[in-house]
Symmetry: none
DNA sequence: GATGAATGAGTATTCATTCAT
DNA sequence: GATGAATGAATACTCATTCAT
């Protein structure tokens, strides 16, 4: 990695943290360069505009999550577990948990939505692949896979992103997943055990 | 209606149109008063701030849609039709159709999200009532009604609000609705006929 | 007192409290009428402008303090005590003590200065009278009485208005007062006992 | 001096003149940048806010006057002349005389007071030093020097800042200064000759 | 005496972006 | 690669005052 690339990456990471903490709109270019210790001009040497930087920041995030999802999809664990694993890969892990909360503050809707959309495009196909695999194995049985996957992702996002869901929510989600994919009742029941924190 | 009230209503309507057309953030107070032909001071005589005005604008919209939904829920049409009707009441009608498209431009996410949330709180209970009625009549059969209704609304919003959906989307939506509510296959099939425009 | 007069007085008192608490500039006409429970128009029925109201408020305060000073000057207590008494009459009493602190907040300089000036014009002559009386009695001995009184008031104001003064301040003040008025050393020493709180 | 520094200084000087002529509150940022021929953004590149600029303007003034006072205090002229010289250093000189008048217009109280306070803190110690020197030489004789100096400055400010004082004022001021510092009568009498303009 | 709707001039501040060096 | 001085459009909000009713 060249020197310039490293600096760009550093800027992206600083920006990511700021965007996600304070919101894209509330983070000024000034804020970013101040923390990075560089001059205004330097910033615009690396990025065309603030908005374009946002796209790169999001691209970086997405790529990480997509990579994790692909790993899971390609692994040897049971299909239902893969489904859940792919979902989980979309959720910020560890220390970023606090960040996730911030992602839902009113000021972050713009970023949140952009992420949502691109996540749908990237994770969607991966998940569809898993479902197809499940159909081949006889675990699932359904048509219109992309459409069903989209619904799954939509509801999953709505439910789990907020970080606030009840047991009833989970129960209904399990029920719906099974029915949507045409799985035997109980196929996805193990989800309930995975989700403790709520 | 008193003189002041009429003017306030007029301002709300102008703002509504602007917010929805150009986005909340891209509409300046200046824009609004210019069209209304009033002075800055007059604007602030009626509204504490631009943001508070947004809340009132949204409240106005919601109330209209909720009223329509209540009418439908209270009417004598078949339960499945009521479900669809309530959904339909959430969609802007007639001339506002062009507006609806705008509601999804990136600049409108803030407003869009505020509306979404409040719609969920207002329409949700009405829809739940209809589902309960359906259960009483033996048409539906399910538990955790509020959770299921929420999912229905989430997916419905995602699908239909954008104004872009395919036949496959509708097919899956019908399938999912029936399964989510525990209805006999075909119960909601008539939806397909209602939706022609896409 | 007619009805209108009573209302005007009430407004003056509300304004006085607000001006002195929050500062003249930070008190809007709105604030005043809100507390008084009257309409904008009514306010302007009683006062030409906000500034003119300030003059009336100050006039009211001054008149009260001047009256107290005149009483003391006309009483039968010893001359040195009269001097001190007149000084004391300028200081807000009792519950207004908290107010006095506020009178020195940056926001109140305008009002504070206006008061200072008018106090000088009103209390000055009264104090001069007392000094002349003291000269007649042989307690004091000096010329240019108004000038000396002015200095006394200036320093007294600077020292005591702030509410922050040390023993050394008082000692020097006593010394200076005696010398300025040509009194025997110790004549004003009793002041020290009067001032305990600081 | 770097390019940026020069421009900042230029802005400070323009602002100083405006503040002092028209008053701080009556001078808009617009007024300043218009005369400087720069853009809004440039102004805020150099100053965080208008208020912070005021602080810098005052700091600049104070530093000049303090420097003059220090020179006088460190020179070889007789002590009484030093006292007067230090006082004189506080008064704007030459062309700024017209400015001085303006400093007392009602609109300038805020600035005036800020200056007064900081002047007390800066000039006070210098003057105290001179008094101590005088005591060492046997010209003065007193305790509580800082307190006495403060009174001197307070009265001096009240008297001379306004630019309006009579012979009687000066006579009493001389008398008081001598007594306050414990000097022999006549020690400061030369002041009378220095002040001709009134 | 009293109302309250209407005015509109006035102002500080933000911030992404550019470009000569 | 890097700097940092300069830009200037954009904007929400305040408030004393007026006047028809």
């Amino acid at each position: 990695m060249k020197k310039g690339e490293r600096r760009k990456l550093e800027l992206l990471q600083i920006a990511y943290r700021k965007f996600v903490t304070a919101g894209y709109e509330n983070t000024s270019v000034e804020d970013i360069i101040e923390e990075a210790g560089i001059a205004k001009g330097t910033y615009y040497y690396y990025f065309e505009s603030k908005e374009q930087m946002l796209e790169e920041v999001i691209g970086m995030m997405i790529e990480q999550e997509a990579e994790a999802a692909r790993q899971i999809a390609g692994s040897l664990i049971p299909i239902p577990q893969k489904i859940v694993g792919v979902f989980a890969s979309m959720r910020p892990s560890g220390e970023e948990n606090s960040i996730q909360g911030a992602l839902h503050k009113a000021e972050n809707i713009l970023m949140h939505n952009k992420i949502r959309k691109r996540l749908m495009d990237t994770i969607g196909p991966i998940l569809s692949g898993v479902v197809e695999e499940g159909i081949a194995e006889g675990i699932f049985s359904c048509d219109n896979i992309p459409q069903r996957v989209r619904m799954l992702l939509t509801i999953g996002g709505d439910l789990f992103d907020e970080g606030q869901f009840t047991e009833a929510d989970v129960a209904v989600f399990i029920d719906m997943t099974e029915k949507l994919l045409g799985a035997k009742p109980g196929t996805m029941a193990f989800i309930r055990d995975l989700i403790g924190q709520g």
